[in-house]
Assembly symmetry: C2
Homo-oligomer: 201 residues x 2
């Protein structure tokens, strides 16, 4: 039988959860750049040093917050498909619009997913890779229906390219960059680009 968690373990676990809660709220309201160890410690009622007894560094804490955001994003995109039957093209467009709406409603948390330094080379947690694979799986499934003859690496590359394209349209659009798509037409543009890319060959 596994040893039951000690009081110390439970306290550490509770501190960890509390820090993630506060970091999540701070990122959602003020953005990633505003996250400071001192503020977090004050909110969580611990010393600055105590943060580093449960996280290696602030990046690891942000990764935990991003994990929550990522799961909410995945759930929103997945839920958008609903129980309706729809064409492969329509499901891609529907999911992209769900991505846009999630990004619009959770802009700062969504930006933190991409603003955190995390290269292919540095260590990325297994659970993060699993979330990512699940999200990409939602995109590649309809692509396989549209392009049944494509080998897996080609589907994979198109999956990433379409995700990046929609991300770019949403990013520049939501930031109201003058180089971007006017906000009220972001949906329309996603649909036009996706409908054209995914016309059966």
């Amino acid at each position: 039988m596994a040893k039951p968690p000690s009081k110390t373990d439970l306290r550490r676990e509770a501190l960890r959860d509390r820090l993630i809660d506060h970091a999540e709220a701070l990122i959602a309201s003020k953005g990633l750049a505003a996250l400071k160890a001192r503020d977090l410690a004050g909110l969580a009622g611990c010393s600055v040093g105590a943060i580093y007894t449960v996280f290696a560094d602030l990046n690891e804490l942000v990764m935990a917050v991003n994990g929550r955001t990522f799961r909410r994003l995945g759930a929103a995109v997945s839920a958008s498909l609903g129980a309706r039957e729809m064409s492969a093209q329509d499901s891609l467009i529907t999911m992209s619009h769900a991505y846009l709406h999630f990004a619009a409603a959770n802009t700062k948390a969504w930006r933190a997913l991409f603003d955190l330094e995390m290269s292919q080379d540095s260590a990325v947690p297994q659970w993060y890779l699993a979330e990512l694979a699940a999200l990409f799986g939602l995109i590649s499934a309809p692509l396989q229906r549209i392009f049944p003859d494509w080998p897996a690496p080609q589907i994979d590359l198109m999956t990433r390219a379409l995700f990046s394209s929609v991300h770019g349209i949403v990013l520049l659009g939501l930031e109201k960059r003058i180089s971007g798509v006017p906000v009220d037409r972001i949906e329309q543009m996603i649909a036009v680009v996706l409908a054209n890319v995914t016309r059966a060959p």
Copy 2:
């Protein structure tokens, strides 16, 4: 006859240029976030206060640097077309690859173009809008050849959507985000997306 510039005018002009030169070098080597008034003053041999006699704030200085970057970017994209005759599709792909190569070779300066806060609502200099219109003109010209029946607003929206799509592919690809396109295949993905979007209807 216009009054010749006074010694004070010339000194101000020289300080302005020197500050832009140093800010440009700092952004290119360390990125926008590393730009500090104190460092700039040290490099330009002036007081911190003197910076604000020639620029309203650091944002205005960064805009001047971004103006230079923007002109270099426009020149690189424009030059990529060369004197060769090419199809409308090929010119879109060629220009996008030039965009990728410029971004890869000038990553920090290119990022500063987008990381500077600049919404549609805030004042954007006229020269910036002119540079932007010129860049978008390079994209809309081949689109008009592909879709001769489209009204101008539809061409304009597709221009912005394609720019944003290519930007997203380049951005996530160059950052080696695990969610992005593997770097060595960015070119290939741009070509696939653009070729599909711009197939004649």
